[in-house]
């Protein structure tokens, strides 16, 4: 099965994909203001947000005014273009030859950080890389145990301290130990934290600092894990985590529900942070690379 097929299959689990309603809406309609209004509603319902939805439909209206769109087919391809134009495309999450390749995973509580890390670790070990997981979530009850189970599933090593230990110290140990053992990848699991808690954001900065001190180019990837069911607050999350630790990519989880994940469009409208991974199920293989073009295409299939 090709990548595109898989993505489509994953997204089809949402039954209506991101804005699958568009097809239904366009059927047998002519392009007029009413249609564009309804399109805007669909975008808002997909969590694209009132601002971004309005700007997308405004761009389409402009094209209609210029006579560039006359039927719904043209409107659809223009809509694809608009969304594609907003979505950022980043490089794949893979080792870059640097050893160890360090990935820092951050996000608010309950978005699926540990699960995403588990799946990501498995993907690396499947490709023959050696992986260490750093249990830097020393706060939440049983977070270390949860990561341990994933490490076992993925065939990865785990570096852990006691619950309540300094998260930065755990990250330090993981990086140092991975380097001395010649491991390929280190993935650091951090405690979920609301982006508004400045002391916790400071703690995150410290983790990053400690890692950078050992390996100046690290962390090579700072993944912000976002829940597809979240609304416009995800923009604040992205902005503030980015300000704190410089997010290099987004992992969008729980896309297999009914949430459309349109929030990434809203985020990309404001911030230059590409989505890199999407979670479309609970299985280990359900973590996929995000490809903006396939993603947009899959939305309309």
């Amino acid at each position: 099965m090709g990548l595109f097929e898989k993505l489509k299959q994953g997204l089809s689990k949402t039954k209506k994909a991101l804005i699958g309603n568009v097809k239904t809406l366009f059927k047998g309609r002519k392009v007029d203001d009413a249609l564009l209004d309804e399109l805007e509603e669909i975008l808002i319902m997909a969590d694209v947000g009132p601002g971004a939805s309005a700007s997308i439909t405004e761009a389409l209206r402009e094209r209609v005014r210029q006579g560039k769109i006359s039927d719904t087919d043209e409107l659809e391809s223009a809509l694809r273009e608009e969304i594609r134009g907003i979505l950022k495309q980043g490089h794949r999450v893979m080792c870059s030859g640097e050893k160890p390749y360090v990935i820092l995973a951050v996000g608010v509580n309950g978005v699926g950080k540990t699960t995403t890390i588990g799946k990501l670790a498995r993907r690396f070990t499947d490709h023959g890389f050696t992986v260490a997981l750093a249990a830097s979530d020393t706060f939440r009850a049983a977070a270390i145990e949860q990561l341990e189970i994933w490490a076992e599933r993925a065939g990865a090593q785990i570096i852990k301290h006691r619950s309540g230990a300094d998260p930065a110290a755990v990250a330090y140990d993981a990086v140092v130990s991975a380097r001395s053992k010649g491991l390929d990848v280190v993935i650091i699991d951090t405690a979920g934290r609301l982006h508004t808690k400045s002391n916790l954001m400071e703690e995150l900065k410290k983790i990053k600092r400690v890692v950078s001190r050992e390996i100046p180019s690290a962390p090579h990837e700072v993944l912000l894990v976002l829940d597809a069911t979240s609304g416009q607050n995800a923009i604040n999350q992205a902005r503030m985590f980015d300000e704190a630790v410089g997010v290099t990519g987004i992992a969008l989880t729980k896309l297999d529900g009914t949430a459309k994940g349109g929030i990434v469009i809203a985020i990309n409208k404001e911030l230059d942070i590409p989505v890199k991974l999407i979670g479309v199920g609970e299985g280990v293989d359900d973590l996929q690379d995000f490809d903006a073009k396939s993603f947009v295409d899959a939305l309309f299939e």
Binding site: E41, N109, A141
Partner: protein
């Protein structure tokens, strides 16, 4: 972000000369802004549509009350309507006549069920009851360990078996033990999975059938977007929930999901979760939630936030000083640390009603705090108490002492003066958007 809804509405009504009745065209224009505010707060689109329609009916033709502007009048109507919509229920958990009272928590993964279960248990324990937690999430790795460890922290027993066990078996065991040990409250922590997961829904239905809970509560994340209606509907249709606990309210999400959920289920929000510590479960206040959804100031939350970050005495003095407009550089310095603990300054200031207008161009960067502290530390006692004596030679000395520039010192003084003025206005009620509201 700072512009509050009532200010935006005042802009619309500025054209409206004099007082009189709220005319339809003005109301329609105003409601466009209301609609935008609600959508930005993640209230579901269809819910917004119905809601705006209802408010329009109520607002058109209403007489504008003397002392307030038409914009404020519309906001008041919107606010009242929101309150009455969300305020139907009571923030209580009803206890079964024959113990044990069984409380079943359901919800998506990551919504905060396990933490909430522990918080509830802690609350009951404080009330002198004998709760027991039951670990029915036998699927997620380490979910059982998580509940066990929380149980230990609050000294409440947790009944659990092993990963992968059938939840019905686990429940039966728990029920027997509860009877034997005289536990009067059983809190069931169920597996979180997607609401479209048929297997999970059936498992929960069977469990509900068996356990006959007194309360089935949906645990939902305050940050949820448009999908909140689908989630709430699915859980309510299958499990006939009795109420909702809204979690992660300590973030800056506007929490429109609350309105969406209440609208589609007709079930009350009973509690809100406001922190990771286990006593942070609070009763739900519809009026505060309405203000938050509308993006209006919320002084009560401001003070509460302050209390959460600083100790009571400190918070009281902060509140008092804000009110009395006593605000020296020493206060500024002392409060910087408190405020930092409450989160970004912008969020804090946005909670003060009416501040929006005055905050424009007065962005205080959180990272600048270090510099500010250094500058204040280099001031003499007299300078801190009375900024007007700081002349240019003093400024030079302060800049040198703090390793900053005179420009930095000037900027701080300017910001400080602006803040002082702003606080004065707030105190006098000039800047208060809606002084007649109970916040």
């Amino acid at each position: 972000m700072f512009e509050s809804l009532s200010e935006r509405l005042d802009g619309i009504f500025r054209k409206l000369k004099g007082r009189g009745l709220l005319r339809e065209e003005d109301v329609v224009a105003a409601l466009k802004e209301v609609r935008m505010a609600l959508l930005e707060a993640d209230v579901n689109f269809k819910v917004v549509k119905d809601f705006v329609e209802r408010v329009k009916e109520r607002a058109v033709g209403k007489e504008v009350i003397e002392s307030i502007t038409p914009g404020q009048q519309v906001v008041k109507i919107v606010h009242d309507e929101l309150c009455s919509l969300m305020g139907g229920g009571q923030s209580k958990i009803s206890l079964a006549p024959n113990p044990p009272t069984v409380i079943m928590l359901v919800g998506l993964h990551g919504s905060g069920k396990t933490t909430t279960a522990a918080k509830l248990a802690k609350g009951f324990k404080k009330d002198g009851r004998r709760p027991m937690l039951v670990a029915l999430d036998t699927q997620r790795p380490a979910a059982i360990e998580q509940l066990r460890s929380l149980g230990e922290q609050i000294d409440v027993p947790v009944h659990s078996t092993h990963a992968g066990d059938n939840p019905l078996n686990v429940y039966s065991g728990a029920f027997d033990i509860a009877n034997r040990e005289g536990r009067d409250i059983l809190i069931l922590d169920t597996a979180g999975r997607l609401h479209i997961n048929e297997e999970l829904m059936r498992e929960l239905e069977e469990l509900k059938e068996r356990a006959r809970p007194r309360e089935t509560l949906l645990v939902a994340d305050a940050m949820t977007g448009q999908d909140a209606v689908n989630i709430a509907k699915a859980f309510n249709e299958r499990l006939d929930i009795d109420g909702v606990i809204l979690t992660k309210m300590d973030g800056d999400a506007r929490g429109g999901a609350a309105l969406s959920i209440v609208s589609v289920t007709g079930k009350p929000i009973k509690f809100i979760g406001v922190g990771e510590k286990l006593d942070f479960l609070e009763p739900f206040h519809p009026d505060r939630m309405a203000s938050r959804i509308l993006g209006m100031g919320d002084v009560v939350s401001l003070v509460e936030k302050a209390q959460a970050a600083v100790d009571m005495r400190e918070a009281m003095s902060l509140e008092e000083r804000l009110r009395k407009n006593i605000f020296t550089f020493d206060d500024l310095k002392a409060q910087i640390n408190q405020i930092r603990r409450m989160g970004p300054l912008e969020n804090i200031l946005s909670m003060i009603p009416g501040l929006g207008k005055h905050m424009k161009g007065l962005k205080v960067d959180d990272r600048a705090f270090v510099k500010i502290e250094a500058i204040i530390n280099s001031m003499t006692k007299e300078e801190r108490a009375n900024y007007t004596i700081i002349n240019s030679s003093r400024k030079r000395r302060i800049a040198q002492g703090s390793g900053t520039t005179v420009a930095d010192v000037n900027r701080l003084i300017k910001q400080y003066v602006a803040m002082k003025k702003m606080l004065k206005k707030v105190r006098k009620g000039k800047g208060l958007g809606l002084p007649q509201f109970r916040f």
